[in-house]
């Protein structure tokens, strides 16, 4: 088992750095190509959500031979209606973020789509935790 902790700040120029480090680690471990691809998408969306919406957060990854578990935990506004947040296209990103091209409302739906299991818990004005599991299916399974 392994955990990697990366702390995020509200910083667009560094958005994606934690994901890049996670990807490198998964390549070192030798996870399947498809697993790494899904993990990169899930980690990136989770990381970006922290950058866009939260005050600060951590992106951690646990690596097992048969799966990757990604957890994004943040201190921030929280999600009032999780079902609504899961709808494709629904976004609470502020206008200046959407002007940058982010905040398309696809973050959580994408995480759901590319992971095998997903779990969200949130508390208003405290923070949110998103956990996703991707199974490391060997090529040909």
């Amino acid at each position: 088992m392994k955990m990697v902790h990366n702390v995020k700040e509200m910083d667009f120029t560094r958005a994606g750095e934690a994901t890049a480090r996670i990807k490198k680690d998964l390549q070192l471990v030798g996870m399947e190509v498809a697993t790494i691809r899904k993990a990169v998408i899930v980690a990136y969306e989770a990381e970006l959500n922290i950058v866009i919406h939260a005050r600060k957060g951590t992106l951690s990854v646990s690596v097992y031979p048969d799966r990757v578990e990604i957890e994004a935990a943040d201190e921030g506004p929280g999600i009032p209606d999780i079902a609504l947040a899961m709808q494709e296209g629904y976004s609470t990103a502020p206008a200046h973020i959407r002007e940058m091209g982010f905040g398309a409302g696809m973050g959580l739906p994408n995480i759901n789509r590319w992971s095998d299991k997903m779990h969200i818990e949130s508390e208003i004005n405290v923070g949110t935790k998103v956990a996703a599991t991707i199974y490391n299916k060997l090529a040909g399974e």
Binding site: K2, L28, G30, V33
Partner: protein, 437 residues
């Protein structure tokens, strides 16, 4: 390849390699072959001109009964504004070739094939060009998840070689082993693509560096030789030599062009994160400026860019008479899929690899984090990886070494202050003089 005498063991190249493929050992740089993608960054950055590309020399032409020159389109932009392709081809022939076949024609053929492929709508979005072998190798090593996005179409130089061979066999009745096809190359990546092809084999025999023959060509251009057959180079195919040329040739759809290996990496990371789904085709060149910016190219790429743009403009206005090109899409199809090169794995056993990764993390926290390169690895984390893989020892880190020496020195001083019980006898004073203050 390394020029042993010139390499000083400085750390410039190890830090610029996009796949961290270089280490310094015994005072010299050493390339880890499996990780090298031939991007040429190390050749460019070496301040001592110690990095060289291995290419063939014109002497090799003597090995073949019939030799064909395959000039890359970037060759046409290496000379003055008044020098035209047919003049360059004329003097190229004087080097000893029996015939030539323009890679630009190959590029025209591939353009047609690409247009059909993109129009089919069944291609992944975005599709990525297969033309730059350094980019393809970069994807094999660092972005294996994107290999399925590469267009399954041969690169122009292979297409040109195939057509050249066909023509030589038909027109001159030659056998394959009698034909020597030599690509005039702007870069080492294309040399490797010939010697270690992505498919089963390459139709090209060897590669001659543009820089090697440049002096010879310049000299002979003083007395240009007329070409036997008239030659009008195809405008769009010629444009492939410059970054943006592929897209210019394709014309329609949503096209993105990126050049420079680190910029390519950024774009590929974006694609890997599921971005850029609105882009149909990505033209990616490892060298800044495209092939005209290659490490084996004699002319300054900003000058070449102008020459190329002017040439393409001129050619577009000239009546083009292209040879008949095959229209069957299978002709251009890559024969084998491009497979990943899993050289980054710590171990084939995944449990062991996870344990090793934990070690890498732990060792990294113990290192100073200065990325100075004195250990011969590009950065502290790379040294940690090397230690875990068995390529390096913790003592390579000069700061760790000094720390250990300081500890040892302190221990020695401490030891020297200790007194064993048999010693330490106080000196008795002579006479009990003086009061105790």
């Amino acid at each position: 390849m390394l020029d042993q005498d010139n390499c000083k063991g400085c750390t410039n190249c190890i830090k610029h390699c996009p796949t961290e493929a270089i280490r310094v050992r015994k005072g010299r740089a050493r390339i880890i072959e499996e990780r090298c993608i031939d991007c040429g960054e190390c050749i460019r950055i070496c301040p001592n001109q110690a990095k060289l590309a291995i290419t063939d020399t014109p002497e090799r032409l003597a090995e073949y009964k019939f030799t064909i020159a395959l000039p890359a389109p970037s060759l046409y932009a290496q000379f003055g504004p008044l020098v035209l392709p047919h003049q360059i081809l004329g003097v190229l022939m004087k080097l000893g070739f029996d015939d030539y076949y323009e890679v630009a024609v190959g590029a025209e053929a591939v353009t047609g094939s690409l247009r059909a492929y993109l129009a089919s709508g069944s291609n992944p979005k975005p599709s990525i060009s297969s033309a730059c072998p350094a980019v393809v190798r970069l994807m094999q090593v660092r972005f294996p998840g994107l290999l399925e996005n590469i267009v399954p179409i041969e690169a122009p130089m292979e297409v040109a070689a195939r057509l050249a061979r066909q023509r030589a066999r038909q027109v001159h009745g030659l056998k394959d082993e009698e034909i020597g096809i030599f690509f005039v190359t702007p870069c080492p990546a294309k040399v490797t693509a010939i010697k270690q092809p992505f498919g089963e084999y390459s139709h090209i025999t060897g590669a001659i560096s543009m820089s090697t023959i440049y002096g010879e060509l310049l000299r002979r251009l003083e007395f240009p030789a007329p070409l036997m057959q008239s030659s009008i180079s195809p405008a769009l195919g010629v444009g492939w030599g410059k970054a943006g040329g592929e897209n210019y040739a394709i014309g329609h759809h949503s096209l993105l062009a990126v050049d420079g290996i680190h910029n390519v990496i950024n774009v590929l990371e974006e694609i890997e994160r599921d971005g850029l789904g609105d882009i149909d085709y990505v033209e990616a060149q490892s060298c800044t400026g495209g092939c005209i910016g290659g490490p084996l190219v004699p002319q300054n790429p900003f000058v070449s860019r102008v020459r190329m743009e002017n040439l393409v403009r001129k050619l577009v206005l000239t009546k083009q008479d292209l040879p008949m090109l095959p229209t069957d899409p299978d002709f251009y199809h890559l024969k084998k899929p491009i497979l990943p090169i899993p050289t980054l794995k710590l171990s084939d056993d995944i449990d062991r690899a996870i344990a090793m990764l934990e070690q890498v993390d732990r060792i990294t926290t113990e290192l100073p984090g200065l990325d100075c390169g004195s250990c011969g690895s590009p950065n502290c984390r790379a040294l940690a990886e090397d230690i875990v893989r068995g390529y390096a020892d913790p003592s390579y880190c000069i700061f760790k070494l000094r720390e250990r020496l300081q500890l040892l020195a302190r221990e020695i001083v401490d030891l020297s202050l200790l007194q064993p019980p048999a010693m330490g006898r106080e000196q008795s004073s002579s006479g009990k003089e003086g009061k105790v203050k």
